[in-house]
Symmetry: C2
Subunit: 338 residues, 2 copies
Amino acid sequence: MPDEICYIDTRTVATLLEEIAVVDVVEEALRSHALGRTVLPAEAYLRWTTDDGWARSLTLPAALGMPTGTAGIKVINGNVANPGRGVARASGLVLLFDVLTGQVRTVMAAANLSAMRTAAVSIIGVRRLAPRPVEQALVIGAGPIGAAHVRLLCQEPTVRTVWVHDLDGDRAAAVAALTSDVRVRVDPVRDRASVIGDADVIVAATTSVNAHLGLRHIRPGTLVVNVGLDDCAQDLLLGADHLVVDSWALVADDDKRLLGQLIRSGRVTAAGDSTSARAEQVVRAELGQLIAGSVMVSPRQDDRVVLNPFGMAVNDIALATAVEQSTAAKGFGLPLPR
Amino acid sequence: MPDEICYIDTRTVATLLEEIAVVDVVEEALRSHALGRTVLPAEAYLRWTTDDGWARSLTLPAALGMPTGTAGIKVINGNVANPGRGVARASGLVLLFDVLTGQVRTVMAAANLSAMRTAAVSIIGVRRLAPRPVEQALVIGAGPIGAAHVRLLCQEPTVRTVWVHDLDGDRAAAVAALTSDVRVRVDPVRDRASVIGDADVIVAATTSVNAHLGLRHIRPGTLVVNVGLDDCAQDLLLGADHLVVDSWALVADDDKRLLGQLIRSGRVTAAGDSTSARAEQVVRAELGQLIAGSVMVSPRQDDRVVLNPFGMAVNDIALATAVEQSTAAKGFGLPLPR
């Protein structure tokens, strides 16, 4: 039993993530989940008042593999007012456990990893759900999660243009400036209405609590990824030709976001549910079912498709495990006495 | 905003805990809870299969104060088979957060702290619920939690004798040998039946999943603290003259332990509940209500009293905050880059 805990800081995690096939790792985690080889309990949610409003801490636990190969939690905390004081909105730690003893084996910075696994899920959506080959993408919201999307979108072979929009034009410009890909053009856009009709995929990754994407904004043939979870309006969720989630259980259990509320009220149901006939919208599949091949969703060229991820700890823990292995292989990491 | 996380290892936490008035800190946390000045959400529970059975991870979140003074989580993991391989059954980390930004500020070893807050709750029970002055105490279960009880019991002015019993006699002897208090005699006992009738308080802190303390074992005038949560039999929980918990919500929500099941089946209710008249047992109070003075429980000399704590994160976070302050004052702790 090692008598030390391995600590991996933000910079090291970021460096290692550049060499990891993030999308492949997340796809494999989603496949495991679809095959019933994961444990994914409810998250713990702590919210407290602050001088300027409130802050919150989420703890997402998960175990993967059969027999269990890896287990851990992601703790991700935030305050939406943080950027105004020069602090990242969200930060936290991932803890990985020895699967035999339960001892904490590794502690690592969570923010980059969390943003990358979120973007990886969207990329899997692009590959499997876009009605047309994605050449032009619009990313709304230029925070760390938006930036992770830009980075992964630039690696997709069909993508030629990525537009980045943010209410703060400087943030969008800064994200665009981070990329220097000769093959893909990354442009900040101040007027998103000018490009929204040309985007094959729209990733909405803002912290807005007011829906700003309605059905009328979305051209037929477009994939919308509702990363921020409050970005898409009710008519878009109800009117999309195909609606896919990452985890039905997590989305349905969530009483804070719109889709969970629509499920509770019976307006949205799961495919195969006996009440589906009366519902206005049916969730066609979980992303992992598409990967595992147990469900098919084949959008036509003029369909509007919405992917509504919730965020699954199995993806965090799988990606953190890849970072941990890479850390060990390179001799990185700071040993802490227990 | 500090750009570092403070890490505090097991040895440092243990050293600092010796100088902290643990019972006072926990009593203050319970008082705050009774006054509505805490946030105490449901814990996250992850259980996974291992080669030798299963292991589990609990995450307990809490915030205290009004305005919020401290917020954090305790992660406590374990495998009951660990002692057989020379590893502590339970271990984990406490994470304390900056209350304004949510950033992780401090990470510390959790096991000692967790055991001490558990023992502190029992001591508060001894002070406020014992039918008679506690001169002789029996601690069943000589793991780290039992050892913490022995230590705190020895500091109580009325206590003259502490018996320690464990199925493994060597463990009981080892815990007894840890104490060298001239005022209090600490004796390992192999035959608990020989002393159980002389104990004024019985602390049951085993990992047994089979109840081993029935009403017939308990002499009138005794306080029983059901620390292990599966130690007390149904007839004792139902037949005690007074039944007190730490948190009604946590105990009632728990479907894994006996008392939670008795509450679900309606056989145990809360004082003031309209269905109390038909129930076999009524939970008289939460411990914090006794401290805050909002409820009185006054056992008579021949009553049997059961305190059934669940374990409250507010106690962990309050105690961890005291350790954090002590660490800063002494210049201890290892700074980690974010």
